[in-house]
């Protein structure tokens, strides 16, 4: 069976974000980008399922401009067999992305759609759920453990109160949480091999997706800064300061 894994090129998680002074967005030019960390976990899980013989083919898919090809090459180095590049620049909101992924999932006849739980740029946490809704298939979000058995998957999910386990029929959508796995370190021979693997290009139009109305960003601002704090020397000083403010 086939698994489709979505990956996104985002500003690297270690970068200190700068908001543009005109409020039009954040500075992304000349800033290090990499694969969204949750998508690395999704790729790793797909590769592990393939190593266990649960899936036979991994197809990585992304939506983005030309530079997103780097992210697909990374996915191929992880172990994806081939990749699909939905070439659309500019901002793509989750429902539009989900419609494109759902179309690919259907076309490929994949039984699993594995995605990160959220992208660390828009922090939306929506796309996987929307893919599942559009196809009316099961969803297992925030997964910390996945066991695939035949045409079913048993997934442990990280919820606020602890861990919840659900069973879903395939096809299904799984979104990955941080503790699902530790993504492997990519080796040079795999990175070289990835250069030869095929990437097919497509577009929203090819997939029959029309981006509908979305949220319009009118302003982007830095968060309010906190006033400079005080460094105290002793525990007594700290206790006195907190008591003076009525906090203890």
């Amino acid at each position: 069976m086939k698994a489709l894994v979505s990956v996104k090129r985002v500003v690297d998680y270690n970068v200190r974000i700068q908001v543009k002074s005109d409020g039009s967005g954040v500075v992304t030019d000349g800033v290090k980008h990499s694969m969204n960390p949750f998508d690395e976990i999704a790729m790793e899980e797909a590769v592990r399922l393939k190593e266990k013989g649960k899936i036979t083919e991994i197809v990585a898919v992304t939506i983005g401009g030309d530079k997103s090809e780097e992210t697909l090459r990374t996915a191929l180095a992880f172990g994806a067999d081939r990749a699909i590049h939905i070439k659309e620049g500019g901002e793509v909101q989750p429902l539009t992305a989900a419609k494109a992924f759902a179309a690919v999932l259907k076309k490929e006849g994949a039984q699993l759609f594995i995605a990160g739980k959220q992208a660390i740029d828009d922090d939306a946490n929506q796309t996987g759920q929307m893919v599942a809704a559009l196809l009316d298939i099961a969803q297992a979000t925030f997964a910390s453990k996945v066991e695939v058995d035949g045409n079913k998957a048993v997934v442990t999910r990280e919820v606020d109160a602890g861990l919840e386990t659900i069973e879903v029929d395939l096809p299904a959508v799984i979104t990955t949480d941080l503790r699902l796995n530790e993504p492997r370190y990519l080796k040079l021979p795999d990175i070289m091999k990835a250069k030869k693997k095929p990437i097919d290009a497509t577009t929203f139009a090819d997939l029959g997706v029309t981006p509908g109305a979305g949220f319009k960003v009118t302003k982007t601002a830095p968060p309010p800064t906190r006033s400079k704090g005080i460094v105290v020397k002793t525990v007594d000083e700290l206790v006195a300061a907190l008591k003076a403010k009525g906090l203890l």
Binding site: Q129, V154, V159, I166, V239
Partner: protein, 310 residues
């Protein structure tokens, strides 16, 4: 005028405390506020919701299939209810984040995540890039489906008396998703997301045994216990204690970051805390940049001393 439907979260028959904060966000939007609760028996939670100030009606959507919270089961029912409303709001919890996008896609509308400020019925602020950029967005025409960032709103009081009505839907429910089990982390301490004081420990604690100094201090001041991702990944505490971009976003009156360096992802979870206290032996740790009070020192001497002096 706006008609706002809030999808309330319940657990063990009780209303989640976050719902009172979602009501506050709904009041900021303005209009009629209806709370819908799904479950097998939600009468207790419905009575609690009916008391929340500003709520005009509580709908109970009770059926055996709703006994466990499963987004695939809830979404078709919520989507059907949503058709009569201008806004559908969910708490920004694991429950809301799992369910809201599925409902929005069924309604064929984009969804807004983590409303942190309401400018008007269609204009909102939300955080992006782990809270390092605040984006103001204008919603398109149609139903606004959104989750509310609980840390950004103050719970409404419980002085109301709304009517409670049974509601039903004709939505067909799928059979592809089944509940197996829930392993809840039981704790006598205050709930992390609702607590006014939180004491968090980080990697510097070194072991789960050493976390005792954090628990002892938290218990002394009646605080909830939290942790950084590093402490969770190292297995010192269960992962539902994680505070940060990928864990819980909290806004207590008083936050103690103990042995936590202050990575961007952690700061995303505590930026709205009223007062932040950092205890760290590294004077250069980024946590000191956001702390209102900082103390440079070894936590294993400082924290027990702090506990003993309170």
């Amino acid at each position: 005028m706006s008609k706002i439907l809030i999808i309330g979260e319940t657990a063990d028959g009780k209303l989640n405390s976050g719902v009172a904060k979602v009501v506050a966000a709904a009041q900021a939007i303005g209009g009629e506020i209806v709370v819908a609760l799904l479950g097998a028996d939600v009468s207790g939670a419905a009575a609690e919701a009916a008391k929340l100030d500003g709520v005009s009606k509580v709908l109970k959507v009770e059926r055996a299939e709703n006994a466990h919270i499963l987004a695939a089961i809830y979404a078709p029912q919520v989507a059907e209810l949503a058709k009569d409303y201008s806004h559908v709001l969910f708490p920004g919890t694991a429950f809301g984040k799992d369910l809201a996008p599925r409902v929005a896609a069924k309604l064929d509308v984009q969804q807004l995540s983590d409303i942190m400020h309401v400018h008007g019925a269609t204009r909102f602020d939300r955080p992006t890039y782990a809270g390092n950029a605040i984006t103001t967005v204008e919603a398109p025409a149609g139903i606004v489906v959104a989750t509310v960032r609980l840390a950004s709103f103050t719970a409404v009081a419980a002085g109301g008396s709304a009517a409670v009505e049974a509601a039903s839907t004709s939505a067909a429910l799928p059979s592809h998703t089944r509940f197996v089990k829930m392993e809840a982390q039981k704790s006598e301490r205050p709930d992390l997301q609702a607590a006014s004081k939180v004491v968090s420990g980080g990697r510097a604690l070194g072991s789960s045994e050493n976390f005792k100094v954090i628990y002892d201090f938290a218990d002394k001041i009646g605080a909830a216990v939290g942790a950084s991702r590093a402490a969770v990944d190292s297995g010192y505490v269960p992962n539902d204690l994680q505070v940060g971009q990928t864990g819980k976003i909290i806004a207590p009156e008083l936050y103690f970051a103990i042995g936590i360096s202050g990575a961007i992802q952690h700061l995303a979870g505590i930026k709205d805390a009223r007062t932040i206290v950092a205890i760290n032996k590294d004077a250069e740790a980024p946590i000191f940049e956001v702390a209102d009070y900082g103390l440079v020192g070894d936590l294993f001497t400082v924290v027990p001393e702090l506990t003993s002096k309170l």
